[in-house]
Amino acid sequence: MKALGFEAPYWLGRKFSFEAMPPIKVWADCLHAGTLKLKPGFHAAPVTFQDSCNFVRNAGMYQQSRDLMSVVATDFREMHPHGNATYCCGNGGGQGLMPEYKQAKIAALKAKADCILATGAKTVVVACHNCEDGIHETCKNYELDAKVELFSAYLAEAVDLQGN
C-alpha cells in the first residue's frame, strides 16, 4: 500500500491513471452499498484489532475497519492506545526478513503484548501480512492466549451466501 499508494508516484515522477486502494476500503464500500452481505454477530469470541501503520495511520482506514468489525463481531474490544496512536506490530519495515535483528525486535514487542493482554481478547484480527507475523510473534513470545486471524479470513467466514 505504501509503495504503490504513496511513494511510487514520486519515485516514477508521474500521476497514475488508477487509484491504489486498501482492501479494507473496498470491503467497507461494498458493505455500505449493500452489495457485500455479512452475517451480523457471526463471531462471538472476544476480539481486538491491530491497526496497521499503512492502512490506518497512513491510509486513514480507521472508521472503515470499525464499521466492518461492528457488523461481524459481538464482543469487540479496543486496545489502548488504538487507531492512529496504536503501537506498531513490530514487524514493519522489513523486520521479518532481517533475522540478524530479531532479538531487538522481540524485546520491542512487549508494548504490544501488554496492550493485547489487557483486552482479554482471544482473537487478534490483523489487516496486513506484516502485522500478521508481528502479532503472531508477540503472542508466541509473551505467551498470550490469543490467535491471530487475517481480516480477510475473519470476514470471509462471515459472508452470507444466501444474501449475496
Partner: protein, 245 residues
Amino acid sequence: MTIDTQTLSRTLADKAGARLEMWLSICSRCGMCAEGCHYYASNPRPEHVPAFRVKPLVDLYKKRGQVDATVLETLRDVCYGTCTMCQRCTMYCPHGIGIAALVHAARGVAVAMGLTPPGLAKGLENALEFGNNLGVTEDDFLETVEWQLEELQEEMPFARAPMDKEGAEFLLTFHPRDIKFYPQNLFNYLKLYNAAGIDFTMSSKAWDSTNLGLFAGDVAKASRLAANVADTAERLKVKALITAE
C-alpha cells in the same frame, strides 16, 4: 571494509533535499519522540529514542562523508535494526519531523555502500527476476488460482476469477505468500470479491503489490517493482488497484 568515498558523497548529495536538510537541522533532540516508539516503550534505553536514529545520518553530513567504516556499520544497525518505519514517533514530534523518511534515507545510504541486509537483498532479487518476492512462476500462479477457484465454486457456483481482462474496475493484487504458502488466503479474497459482485481482474504478470525495495531503502529497485504493477494496471485500464493486505 574500505569505503568508496565517491559513491558515498554522490549518495549523500542525491539524498539531500530541502525537506531532509530542514529536518536534520531543526531536530532539537527534545526527546518527545521517545514516547512514540515501541522499541523505547518496551525497553527504555537512550538508543531507542527515535531522534537517536537520525544521528548517524547527521554525522555523515557534518563530516561530508569523510568517515571510517564503523560509522557506516553503526548507521546500518541503527536504521535497519531498531526501527520499523511505522511513523508513530512523528505524531509526538513538535516539529512533525518524518523520522521514518530519514531512516529510509539512511537505509538508502547503506544500500549504496553495499550494506543491504541479506534477507531483504535476496527477496528483492527474486522480486526483480520473477515479479514476486517468493519466486513463484507464472504457471504456478495460474494453477493456484484455478485450484482455489474450483474449491470456491463448490460453495459459490457463480464464482469467477478473470485473468488479464481489460477494462475491469479493479485489479486484484496479493502478497506472494497468499499464492505460495497460504492459498486459503487467495480463496478468501476471491470469496469476498465474488460475494460483493465487483468487476475485477487479476494479472498473470504483475500480481505482487509488496515492495521490498521500499523496506530496503533501495529507491531504484523499488521504482522498477512499482512500475511493473503500475504499468500493468494502466494497460488493463482499471480504475483502482486493490493492494495486498
